[in-house]
């Protein structure tokens, strides 16, 4: 029975799978494979690529700007992760307490998510420069302004997003558990820590990983708000480090900067970046799997 049903379907496989497979090959598989190959080559154009082993990777790790971008990105990702999740959870918790106007608040908090990164960056650069120009400085002149400015921007954008996930989690907490805690005389605080939070652990895991990978992959906002990574800093060996440049932007600047001979290094950096981000993604998958088994 099953075989007879499936065979006419397979005849149409080219129609159902064809478009996606072709586009997927063009848009992902081929560029990905070529990207891996080119990371072991010296090239300025794909045509003149010459194999040169792992020297691109050595160059990438020796590059002061790349290492700076790595630590800067890691710091940014961790700080934004903590702040986003604490604030988003607090907001979500308040909005599920039956406060008047909760729906309107939710609508407003989510709104910034629909505005694109480039536009967001320029909106906030206007606001920060409006404030900082009074102190005769600019967000492009000091690293700490650039860092905290980007943090504020990301909070404004991401709190609403994570809040939605937390609200979904909070609404799924079984009512009878909360009821039982109330009858047993637990305070609000105890109920929150002992009943609510353990029950929304899956949402917390998702949000933590999402904000971590978002932090690592950040590009548009970094490009727009920090003017491509300003301010610059001259290193002892004469090289220039852009102090607010994050990993994705560093890769972009290496690819499309003035030195086209560095494209091999840029592709190697991109592979390292991919391994890092994919590692985080897989860790999330493994972690959520484990949780699901336990439940």
């Amino acid at each position: 029975m099953k075989r007879r049903k499936l065979s006419p379907m397979r005849k149409w496989g080219w129609l159902f799978l064809g478009p996606v497979v072709i586009a997927f090959a063009i848009g992902f598989v081929w560029p990905f494979c070529q990207g891996i190959y080119l990371s072991f080559c010296k090239f300025t154009l794909i045509r003149d690529a010459k194999f040169n082993g792992i020297s691109n990777y050595i160059d990438a790790f020796k590059d002061a700007s790349f290492m700076h971008a790595f630590w800067y990105t890691a710091l940014f990702a961790v700080v934004s992760l903590v702040l986003i999740n604490v604030l988003a959870f607090t907001v979500a918790y308040l909005l599920t307490q039956g406060i008047r106007g909760s729906n309107i608040f939710r609508t407003v908090f989510f709104m910034p998510n629909l505005i694109g990164g480039i536009v967001l960056g320029y909106i906030w650069s206007m606001i920060f420069d409006g404030i900082l120009s009074r102190l005769n400085t600019s967000i492009l002149l000091e690293t700490r302004y650039g860092f905290w400015g980007l943090i504020i921007l990301m909070l404004w954008q991401q709190i609403g997003y994570m809040m939605i996930i937390y609200i979904a989690g909070l609404q799924a907490v079984p009512e009878d558990m909360l009821e039982a805690a109330r009858i047993d005389g637990a305070s609000k605080w105890q109920t929150l820590w002992r009943v609510t939070i353990p029950n929304v652990m899956p949402s917390i895991t998702i949000c933590v990983f999402l904000s971590l990978t978002n932090g690592f992959k950040l590009f548009d906002q970094n490009l727009a708000l920090n003017g491509g990574g300003q301010p610059f800093q001259q290193m002892a060996d004469g090289s220039v480090v852009k102090t607010t440049e994050m990993l994705a932007l560093n890769i972009y600047n290496t690819f499309y900067g003035t030195n086209s001979a560095a494209r091999g290094t840029a592709q190697a950096k991109a592979v390292i970046f991919f391994v890092l981000v994919a590692g985080l993604g897989l860790a999330q998958l493994a972690y959520t799997r484990k949780k699901e088994v336990q439940q």
Binding site: G27, F28, M111, A224, G281
Partner: protein, 288 residues
Amino acid sequence: MTKRRENALKAEKRRKAVMSVVLTVICIIYVLPVVSVAVNSFKQNTYVKTDTFALPNSETSAGFDNFIKGMTFGNYPFWKSVVYSFVITVASTALIVLFTSMAAWYIARVNSKFCKAVYYLCVFSMVVPFQMVMYTLSKTADTLKLNTPWTIPVVYLGFGAGLAIFMFVGFVKSIPLEIEEAASIDGCGPVKTFFSVVFPMLRPTMISVGILEIMWVWNDYLLPCLVLDLNKYRTIPIHIQYLKGSYGTVDLGATMALIFLSIVPVIVFYLLCQKYIIKGVAAGAVKG
């Protein structure tokens, strides 16, 4: 006893009212950035930086000059970038929803090695950052002439297929097979079964996927910037980046006018489809 309970209830009510006020204040602060864009789009260039947080007055106001100037600003007509953004977003979303739902149904129903390979590759592609493929992808797209607004949807279909397939496959697996078996007993071929039976049932996921793709493609900057032929075609984010990122003096007033114009349709869209957007985002996020 009842008195104590009454008091407790009253205190609870009061606390909620206070929270409501606090949240209202936070909400007002939350929309201020958008409001300040609107306000500053009516100011003359030099005053945007010095009087950012004041309303325009007779001295600083530029009337609608910024909007008129903005239309031809940066040696590129703004309306063109709006049209291209629109074309690319609509075409890409339509392609993705149609073709990935077809592929996902096939993958979920046919148990072959090839299907499994495609599925796992799609899942894998979700964790690959764009920077990994950006250079080679832009070269490939260039060679294949995918560098126009009418052909770039193919690139979006390729790079964006992962999440869409993942979401559709998850949903198809929850549809009972009996419905399709009944259709095939009634003499429907696979194509007819899909389009007249399965396709309508996929509506909720289609809306979620569609919303996620619209939000992604409309706001995307780097992919179209690297793939499109920028002398001829620019999308709204590319246009705005060119205005601000270019050398020489930047007309902040006109830039704010264009940013304002580009936010308004997005906010209208959001207010109209809010329910679906929030649902779609929640559905997409759970899977990462």
